[in-house]
Amino acid sequence: MRFPQNKSRSINFRPRAAAAAWTGRKHLKDNQTCQDAVSTYYSTRLAVVALSDGAGSAKFSALGAQLAAQTICKTLRASFRRLGSSNADTVSLVLFKAVYNAIEHAALKKGVEVRDLACTLLFSATDGRRVLLGQLGDGIVATSNTGDKSWQRVFDLPKREYLNLTPLITGPSSHNHLQTCWTDTTKVSSVALMSDGAAESLHQRNSDTFAPALERMSEWLNKYPTKRVNAALIQALVEQLSQKTFDDVSIAFLRTGKLRRK
């Protein structure tokens, strides 16, 4: 028997996203909440991941981080298609404004300064064809491609001589620090976002290479339900990554997929 050939049907990989955040030992000791926040969204058409690290010196940075991560997810969910025809600078401006406005609104409502909600921001989104990547402040955005299994850092690390100095969303001229870029799913099949704390165990600074654990965690999204992956990520953060740093730890993964064509 001969089977009919349907040349218009593409491979069915749905975009997938998973993320987790955990309180660092310093904050646990001081009885403080986690200042890292993550947010994800995925459907058959779009996947978005976002991660934000609240500044330790900012009183309400945990709230700032939550707002930043959630706002990016919400904005990209609503506007990805429209933004897809824009260049990286326009995308930066639109996204920065959305996040800053959300933070400013929250600050006004609380009667505090915007800088009291200071945080960093990392994100990625894909519709199965295009992939958007972005970063403001510390942390790492990394990508890999199917078959390659090696990971590359996407953006240059902020140049600074001393620790404790990182660009933040609410800092002076902070919109200039938001880096974004477009790529596509022929070049990227997986994206990882990691906070500074998580990067201690996953990114070797001297050689600028990534630990084998990164690929393995990313692969979980191919093999297991998202709920299971989220739980496994939390376990990894709690039992291992948080033991190598005093900082909060957070990580997010996105597997790009190709759309079903009918």
Binding site: D53, Y162, L165, A211, W220
Partner: protein
Amino acid sequence: MLNNNDLKLRTEELTENPTARVPVYLVLDTSYSMKGEKINELNSALAEFVHAVQEDEMAAISAEIAVVTFGGSVTQILDFSSIERQHMPVLQANGNTPMGEAVELALDQLEQTKRIYSKMGVDYFQPWLVLMTDGEPTDSINEAVTRCRQLIMERPQKLTLFPVAIGSDANLDILGQFSPSLLPFRANAAIFRQFFSWLAKSINTVSTSNPGDTSSASFGETSFKKHQLDWETAMKQSGGS
């Protein structure tokens, strides 16, 4: 079939990075006038300081302390190294007060250490320098003062200097030249312990701070100013000057 072990990471799959360093330089007057109670109290306070930092889990692996004394000659008695491996020698008082030379040696050593950190890919916090004297310098301090002020006024700030005057003979005007942002604190021998206890706690705080936290320079200066009042009050209450 779902494999539970597959969803667990193994330690060998993670990577290691060097711990960020907190470099602290103690520049201490051991001239003849420090003989007696002052040098004895200083020795006790220093021993307790090293112990306090060693006892803190994070500070023990990130603090790097160096000590130079100036009493007759300038001597580096402790090189920069992890405090886990260090043992503070007992100080002896003798000779005059080559303060300028001592501060310049400390600054040279700090620059060299920063170069080593950068070469090895080791992150570090802004360095701290503690300058303690009970008198006046017997050499020229112009170059040392210029260098210190430049580093302190640069943005981001490259050095935090804590000027501590010991006893009533210390010249506050001269000491004050080294640090445009902090007034010298006049301590007596009885307050050394409190000062070094504060220093140990501050190092512990900085060693666990993260990007986005207050810079170690800003934290150090704010904390020093805040505690100066407490120390002065304690000295008045104990009848010291």
